[in-house]
Symmetry: C3
Subunit: 138 residues, 3 copies
C-alpha cells in the first residue's frame, strides 16, 4: 500500500465562493503514482466544504440561494455562536454541503460519471484556508 | 492490497424513487474476496444519492415530503439552473441526502448495525443511471 | 495493509446530545499502530450521526435550533414513520448531519486542521447505541 498527502491552499475574494478543484485532485493522483485506490478530499476548516456536483453557474447560484434561505448569514444575533464571531451560518452551511468526498481511483484516474466535478465551497473566506488530499492504494 | 470495481445500473419508473441496494453491495464484496477493508458506494450522477437509513416505507415517504419542502421540484422557474433543464431540485435534494457512503468490511461482511440499509436515491429518474462500488482491502 | 476495528458505546441522558469523541478516535489509531492510512468513524444506528465541527457550546446549540426548525420532533403525527415509533425526526436530523466521517492518518495522528473535532450526534438517545471505528493502512 502506498499513501500520498497534499494540501491545496485558498484565499477567496468574497465571503462565499465555489471553486472547481477537479484538476488539482487529478494532479495529486498523478503525482502519487497510485493506480487503484481511494482518494479523500476534505476541508481542513470547519466553515468550508468539499462536495461533488455540476460545474454550471446557474446551479452554483441556486446553491447559494438555498443555503442562505436555510441558514442566513444575517442578522448575526440569531446565532449563539456569534458572541465574538460572525460565522455561525458558515458552520451550518458547510454541514449541509459536507466536509469531504471520497472518490475511487481506477487505472490512475478519478473514476467519475460524466458530470461529476469536485468543488471547494468557501463560506467564510477572505483568509488563507486549506484542503487536504490523502490517497491510499497501489 | 486488493481492489475491486463494479457498477450497478438503474432506470426508475418515476422521477423520484428509493431502492434498497444492500444485497447488491454484499454480493460485490463476496465477488471481491476481500475480508477486511472499506467499500465506497457512490452515485455517478449528480442528481442521485447513496445513503444509509431504515428500510421502512413510512420513513421513505417522510424523506420525500421533507425534501420537497426544502427544495421543491416546481415551479421550475425558481431555479437559475433550469434555463434548459428542469432538474435543479434534484441536484439540491441529492446534496442533502449525500453522494456516497463508505462502509467497513469485517470478516467478509458489511460491518453494520442492526437496522442499517443502503439506498440508492433517485431524484431525476426515468433514464439509465449508475452507482459505483469500489472496494479496497485484503 | 493492516486493519483495526473498535466500537464506542454511548447511552445519553437526553434524547438529543452532542459528544466530542476526538480523543477516543486518536486512541484507537494509537492502538492500531497504523501510521499512514484512513479511519472511518460511523454511527451504527440510523438515528445518530458522526460529524466534524467546532467544539463550541454556542454553535452546538445553534445546530440543535437549526435541526429542530428543519425537522421538528413534534407533533409526532406529522411523520408517517411514527405509527408505532416517535423518532422520524431523528432519522431526518441524522441525515442532515451525516452518518460518517473519513479522516486521514499521517505519521500516526489524525491529520486535522486547527479546529476540527469529531462529534457523536445523538438524536434518539437514553438507550445504548454504538459507533464503529475502522482503520486501514500501514
Amino acid at each position: 500500500m502506498i499513501s500520498y498527502r497534499k494540501e491545496l491552499w485558498f484565499k477567496t475574494n468574497k465571503r462565499r465562493e465555489f471553486i472547481n478543484i477537479t484538476q488539482d485532485v487529478q494532479k495529486a493522483i498523478d503525482e502519487s503514482l497510485i493506480k487503484e485506490g481511494l482518494v479523500l478530499i476534505n476541508a481542513m476548516h470547519i466553515t468550508a466544504s468539499v462536495f461533488i456536483n455540476d460545474n454550471e453557474t446557474g446551479l452554483l447560484n441556486d446553491f447559494e440561494v438555498f443555503l442562505e434561505k436555510l441558514a442566513p448569514e444575517k442578522p448575526y444575533s440569531q446565532y449563539q455562536h456569534n458572541g465574538y464571531e460572525d460565522n455561525a451560518d458558515a458552520h451550518i452551511k458547510r454541514t449541509i454541503m459536507g466536509r469531504e468526498v471520497i472518490c475511487a481511483i481506477t487505472k490512475g484516474k478519478l473514476d467519475f460519471g460524466p458530470w461529476e466535478q469536485i468543488f471547494y465551497g468557501e463560506f467564510d473566506g477572505m483568509r488563507k484556508k486549506r484542503v487536504l488530499i490523502k490517497i491510499i492504494g497501489d
